[in-house]
Amino acid sequence: MTDNRHLIEIKEVGKDYLSKDVAVKAIRNMDFFIDDGEFVSIMGQSGSGKSTLLSIIGGLNHPTRGNVFVDTLDIYSLSSEQRADFRSEYIGIIFQSFQLIPYLTVLENVKLPMAITGIKKGKKKEMAMNVLKKVGLQEKVNRLPDQLSGGEQERVAIARAIVNNPPILLADEPTGNLDSETAIEVMNLLKELNDDQTIIMVTHNQDMCAYSSRTIRVKDGECFLY
């Protein structure tokens, strides 16, 4: 339990891994918090540890030391299966390079996180259609991912991340594969979503940080808050 009720609290988190039998410190004792409703950018060069940090916040990557509290819950005290339930309920992830399931249509990709919930069939479709409308793809629900442009695929990935209405949205380089015009569209969409969700975005693009309320810079596994 933490003393103050921050939505996310990173307490002395460190992550080491072995690379060719050599211990590498990907994250060195990070300590910071993120409050509900924030739009935080995590910025840094390639290999700085920002994606590792994002995966630790998302309950995907067990830190070597330290604790991660989400809504006062120490998520790494949970079992692997309990953490899966936590991700289903609390976290929406927008992956780098969209990562849509190629054999599922736009609508099915968006409904994917609901496949393991008890939501009724009709309600699932209604929820999926609502978020697809929000991202402006209601006309392309039956297309397969490879029939969409990069920007459209990104918007499907965003729709899939928010369909369960998770309180936290993690975005890993959401504009990394987009042209500048589409990137701005996507960033505006994320800004809109920030009304309902806390967003943590990893980027190496300084311009994208302008959309966030706060930037955490990561260098050599250490963070510098701004």
């Binding site: 995907l60 899966a84 992830i93 399931i101 054999y103 099915e108 996180p113 496949a115 393991i116």
Partner: protein, 385 residues
């Protein structure tokens, strides 16, 4: 969207892999079904032939003396007194435990009669039963229906220069030759065959029966047990099972069955290996996808369900196609494998077994890949993103 939608869509999208997987099972199941169907048809054919072959149990009066004949050659001209059964007791044969396996009971009375001063064997039979038993008999003329009508063995007819329509006297009674048997190469060639009750009168053996031939209609029925059961009812009888023909043919079938089983196990093993390798490949290929599933909150069990559902669908399709494919191959090849062989027909039980076998194999071969997929660490899986 349910988990089965993911499995179904994956199979639909990866048609090539699906076809490859299904083919592995189809070949395995079709081989098993073909071999089992052919074996079943062979067994049926043997049964049919055995039924045509005639009696497979013979009941004769017990005799303490040893026979002095071999291969139709009598040595020493020794004649033994022939003992008989009481005709009324013959019906007791139908009271044995395995009575449902008894088809035909053909009683006979045998004795010597004088024809034109020479001794000839007279055999009294129940013509209806006898003809049902001796399906290979062919004769010129008509089957005797009246008490005073006889059927002559080919040797008897030629020895006494008798033919259809001729009259003959047996112990002072007038008989009409109704038909002459074509040569059989067996004992029947040397006998006069007449109605059972009329023969009993001619031979002075009213109510007596010299021997009984019994046909048991069944596939691999317990002939030894039936023999013992009949012997128990008739302590004075020597009951013999004519097993040699049955045994040698059944042995051939058993040999083919063992061979079929060996081939089936081998093909099934190869089919399972194919499913295993393809599923392992599929899991490796889908590491990224599984990472996404896990990242968005799928539990290990959910990932296993997706993989095993795919295996179940592949198993069902493979089993269904394998069964009908195997049955079709058996139907098409049987005439070449077995002369005059008739396909036993679609066997529903075999169909159910095929489906169960196919699904079990597919699930068993996919269990390890599914466990491997479900145990993927999401952070490791996402590294390939």
């Amino acid at each position: 969207m349910k988990l089965y939608n993911i499995s179904l869509n994956n199979l639909k999208r990866r048609k090539g892999k699906m076809i490859f997987l299904v083919m592995g099972l189809v070949i395995g199941i079709a081989t098993v079904v073909t071999l089992l169907s052919i074996t079943e048809s062979m067994s049926m054919d043997i049964e049919k032939r055995l039924n045509q072959f005639g009696a497979n149990i013979v009941m004769t009066p017990r005799n303490e003396n040893l026979s002095l004949s071999y291969g139709g050659i009598n040595v020493g001209g020794v004649n033994y007194k022939v003992r008989e059964f009481d005709e009324k007791k013959i019906n007791d044969i139908r009271k044995i435990k395995n009575s449902k396996n008894i088809g035909i009971i053909a009683p006979k009375v045998i004795g010597a009669v004088k024809v034109k001063g020479r001794d000839v064997l007279l055999m009294g039979v129940d013509f209806e039963q006898e003809i049902a038993l001796k399906t290979w008999w062919q004769f010129d003329g008509y089957l005797p229906k009246q008490a005073n009508e006889v059927l002559l063995g080919s040797q008897v007819a030629s020895s006494f220069d008798l033919s259809t329509g001729d009259n003959m006297i047996l112990s002072g009674r007038n008989f009409v030759v109704k038909a002459v048997l074509q040569p059989t190469g067996a004992s029947e060639d040397n006998v006069i065959i007449a109605d059972l009750h009329e023969s009993q009168k001619v031979l002075g053996k009213e109510g007596k029966v010299s021997m009984v031939e019994i046909a048991a209609f069944c596939q691999g029925c317990p002939i030894n047990e039936m023999t013992l059961q009949i012997a128990e009812k008739f302590p004075d009888a020597k009951v013999t099972a004519l097993k040699q023909a049955v045994m040698s043919k059944m042995q051939s079938i058993e040999l083919f069955k063992s061979f079929s089983l060996g081939i089936s196990v081998l093909v099934i093993f190869i089919g399972s290996l194919l499913v295993f390798v393809t599923m392992m490949g599929s899991v490796s290929e889908r590491t990224r996808e599984i990472g996404i599933f896990r990242a968005i909150g799928f539990r290990r069990g959910h990932v296993m369900q997706i993989i095993l559902l795919e295996a179940l669908i592949v198993g069902l399709v493979g089993g269904f196609l394998g069964f009908f494919g195997g049955s079709t191959i058996a139907w098409a090849t049987l005439p070449f494998v077995l002369e005059g062989g008739v396909f036993a027909g679609i066997n529903i039980s075999l169909g159910i077994i095929s489906l169960l076998l196919s699904v079990s194999l597919s699930l068993a071969a996919s269990l390890y890949p599914a466990r491997k997929a479900s145990n993927l660490d999401p952070s490791e899986a996402l590294r390939v993103l």
